[in-house]
Structures are given as structure tokens and as C-alpha cells.
């Protein structure tokens, strides 16, 4: 599985497709995040940045995951499946490669906010929770991207619409009574901007919500893989 994940990640990087989200991330870091928070609440605002980054990166992570999974030609997907020793290895490896690349993109995005939060003296537990939040949201974004990849939706137009529509729908669902079935974006944004203490207190609930959502959506993705062949 590791070998397949390495192969897919290498193809994504060597094809330079990785530059698309990387350019977006670098621009956001340079134009928005590099300025950093100021004023008397700077330490609290620095924690809030982790939530903002997670919300901004959610569709970017989905987009990157979709692009990574779509890098290999369909026939190569068949060759990899034939070469793999285990039936489920290719599908897990694809998710692992996409998540690994998304974590790297997350590190690039969060490097500056992390330095700012530490230098401004933001509470360590809140900073750790912010990092963990991003790791969890990266997994959720990866799965949204996987569900819109070519193996699931062969038409590029439909796939792009599903990606944009899916990300928008999840945000809108989070506003209404069906927020339990969506990613808790509104909850984490509210929590990080209510101060570091509130964020740390609310984080376990948000983390469990994200973990359950990711596990269910991921299980459905893996389970339906057999219908895609």
C-alpha cells in the first residue's frame, strides 16, 4: 500500500499538478497570513487563524485530492490494481497519498500562523488543538475530493460541479438543522473566534464530529470501490 501511495504521490508531484494548489496556498500565505494579527487580542486572534485556515483549506484539500487521484490514467489504475497484492490496497493507497500531500500543503499554509501564534504567546493547548483541527479537516477534504475523482465521476464537468457543489452544500448544511450530517465548519469557526479557552473546551466535540463524518464518508468510499470495477 505504501508503494502505491508513493507512486501516486510521485506522479502528482512530477506532473507538476501539485503547483496548482501550492500557488494558491503561497499566495494566501504571502498576501493574507504573512501580515499577522495585531492589537491587544493578537494572541487570541492568532489562534483564530487556525480555524480560518481550516475553513479556507477544506475545498483546496478536496481539489488537491481529486487532482492527485486523477493524475494516473485509467489504464494505469488497472495495471496498479493487477500489481497490488491486496484487493483494497489501491483504494486505501490513493487516500493515503492524497492525505499525505494535503498534510504537506497544510504545513506550508500553517507555518507562518504557527510562528506568529508561538511568538505572540498564544496558549499552547489552543495552538495544538488548531493544528489537530487542520489535520482532521484535511482528512475530510481529502474524502470529498476522492468522491469527486474520475474513478467515481468519469465526466470532468460533473466532477467539478460535484466538487464545488459538495463543498458549498456542506457549508450550507452546517447552517441548518441538518448540521449534524455536515462538517462542523460553523462550529469550529465560532469556537476559535470565541477565544482560545472556548476553542480548547469545544474542540473534543468538534474533533469527534469530524472523525465520525470522515469515518462514515471514508467507509462508504472504500465499500463502494467494488462497484467501480
Amino acid at each position: 500500500m505504501i508503494a502505491i501511495a508513493r507512486f501516486q504521490a510521485a506522479a502528482y508531484v512530477r506532473s507538476l499538478r501539485v503547483l496548482h494548489p501550492l500557488i494558491v496556498v503561497v499566495l494566501v500565505v504571502a498576501l493574507v497570513l504573512a501580515q499577522g494579527p495585531g492589537g491587544p487580542d493578537a494572541a487570541a486572534l492568532a489562534v483564530g487563524t487556525f480555524g480560518d485556515v481550516a475553513a479556507f483549506m477544506f475545498p483546496v484539500w478536496a481539489w488537491a485530492a481529486r487532482a492527485l487521484l486523477d493524475t494516473q490514467p485509467d489504464e494505469q489504475r488497472a495495471l496498479t490494481a493487477a500489481a497490488a497484492r491486496h484487493r483494497w490496497a489501491p483504494v486505501w493507497a490513493g487516500l493515503l497519498a492524497a492525505y499525505g500531500v494535503n498534510l504537506c500543503l497544510g504545513l506550508v499554509t500553517l507555518a507562518v500562523p504557527l510562528v506568529q501564534a508561538v511568538s505572540l504567546g498564544s496558549p499552547g493547548r489552543a495552538v495544538a488543538a488548531g493544528l489537530a483541527l487542520n489535520a482532521l479537516v484535511a482528512a475530510a477534504g481529502t474524502l470529498l475530493g476522492a468522491w469527486t475523482s474520475r474513478a467515481v465521476l468519469p465526466s470532468p464537468g460533473v466532477s467539478l460541479l460535484a466538487l464545488l457543489g459538495g463543498a458549498s452544500a456542506l457549508v450550507l448544511l452546517g447552517l441548518g438543522p441538518l448540521s449534524a450530517v455536515s462538517v462542523p465548519m460553523i462550529e469550529w469557526l465560532r469556537a476559535v473566534h470565541d477565544g482560545p479557552e472556548t476553542f480548547v473546551a469545544d474542540f473534543p466535540g468538534i474533533a469527534v464530529h469530524l472523525a465520525v463524518w470522515t469515518a462514515l464518508v471514508g467507509a462508504a468510499y472504500v465499500a463502494t470501490d467494488r462497484f467501480r470495477s
Partner: protein, 237 residues
């Protein structure tokens, strides 16, 4: 390997591409798959390799190590031949030294540092065959492996297939070029009319003969021909 009542279609409620496929593939045999274009040969080969799942029926006893070489190797990948095959060797769990061994046997060592998109059709075909052979597969599925190959490799490949079969590998191959015809003990399967069956090489070949008869005699002539055991069909009006 046993196919039991296997049927396949690409979409639910779509037409069945293959149905009622019952056959056994024995270890160490060479099986040639024939059939006209569009009959479903590639689909059948993918079912054999485990890349497609039957809509009905089951395939049992497929070996763990499967090598599959497609009709068109996907060259649109950002790797050199060496790095691509090294990745495939790693996926197959065998050492990267097998890359050099197969590059030499198939005669493309000088192309190891060429990027995949720059390969000619024949060279790409060799890379496609090499990646299928890296870990000594127990089942080797080759879809038109001779297409585009140079004469030297085309001459050498049947011997290689024979050696693999002698070592216990089941080789299933579609071959329009009839390059494996000289090999002994080749079992032949025919994909036609939505199913797969053994090709009876002892049966005489059929041909179509058109007979022009006066309209009032058409029923009489048809009855006579049917009585003599011929298959008769009337042209659509």
C-alpha cells in the same frame, strides 16, 4: 481458475457483454483468446485478470500474482522507464534489479532513461509487458502483446511465453497477429455472440453462399436446404 456462470455488463440495466461463461483455466496452460473486433475479448481478459468483477456468477482460484499487459500501454505518465518500472516492482514487492533483467530480455535497456511519453508504440508495448512480468506472475494476461513490436521481439516473445507456461504460469493472450500459433498445446477460446467457449479447431470452416431463386420457389428451396442440414436465413426485405 474456474469461471462459473459468469456474466458481465458495464452498467446496471445495460446490455450483457458476456454471459453464461463456464470454463476452467489450468495452471501452466497457454490460452489464446480469439474473436472479432468488439466481441468482448478485452473485457474477458480483464475479467480473467480480476480487473472487472462479474455481474453474475463467480471466478474462483485466481492466483495471487497476476501480470496484466494492456493493448495500449498508458504512456501519459511523468516517469522515465526506469523509475516507472522501479515503482511497479516496488508495488509488486520484488527488487528493482528485476527491472534490468526484463529490460535486457525484451531488448529495451537503452530506453531505461527515456521518459514514457517519448516512447514509440512498440517500445511502450515492451514496457507494458515488462511491468507484467516483474515478479514472475502465476497468471499472465496479455492483450494483443505483439501489436507494434519489432521483428526480433515478436519472434522472441512466443518462446518467452512458452518458458513461462513450462514454469507453471497460466498465460491468457489475445493475438490477432497469430504469433503464438506455432507454440504447441495452445488452448483456444473464442469470444462470440456474448459468450466464451472452446474453439473447435477440428470443425470445418463455414462460409456464406448466396443462392438466387425464383420467388415462387423460395419456400421449396429453403425446405430442401434445411433438410440437407444447412443453416438458411432469408435476407431482410
Amino acid at each position: 481458475m474456474l469461471f462459473e456462470g459468469v456474466a458481465f455488463r458495464y452498467r446496471r440495466r445495460g446490455p450483457w457483454i458476456l454471459k453464461d461463461v463456464d470454463l476452467a483455466l489450468e495452471a501452466g496452460r497457454i490460452v489464446e483468446v480469439t474473436g472479432r473486433n468488439g466481441a468482448g475479448k478485452s473485457t474477458f481478459l480483464r475479467l480473467v485478470a480480476g480487473l472487472r468483477r462479474p455481474g453474475k456468477g463467480s471466478v474462483r482460484g485466481r492466483p495471487d500474482r497476476v501480470g496484466y499487459a494492456p493493448e495500449r500501454f498508458p504512456v501519459d505518465q511523468p516517469f522515465t522507464v526506469r523509475s516507472y518500472l522501479a515503482h511497479m516492482a516496488s508495488i509488486r514487492g520484488c527488487g528493482a534489479d528485476s527491472v534490468g533483467v526484463w529490460a535486457e530480455r525484451l531488448g529495451f535497456e537503452r530506453l531505461l532513461d527515456v521518459r514514457l511519453p517519448e516512447l514509440s508504440k512498440g517500445s511502450a508495448q515492451k514496457v507494458g509487458i515488462a511491468q507484467a512480468l516483474l515478479d514472475g506472475p502465476e497468471l499472465l494476461v496479455l492483450d494483443e502483446p505483439f501489436a507494434g513490436l519489432d521483428a526480433a521481439t515478436r519472434d522472441a516473445l512466443p518462446g518467452l511465453i512458452g518458458d513461462l507456461a513450462a514454469g507453471g504460469t497460466t498465460v491468457v493472450v489475445s493475438d490477432h497477429q497469430r504469433c503464438i500459433e506455432p507454440l504447441p498445446d495452445v488452448e483456444r477460446l473464442r469470444v462470440a455472440d456474448g459468450t466464451v467457449g472452446a474453439l473447435d479447431v477440428t470443425a470445418p470452416a463455414s462460409a456464406i453462399l448466396e443462392v438466387v431463386v425464383p420467388e415462387e420457389e423460395i419456400d421449396t428451396v429453403e425446405a430442401k436446404l434445411r433438410a440437407d442440414g444447412y443453416r438458411v436465413r432469408r435476407p431482410a426485405r
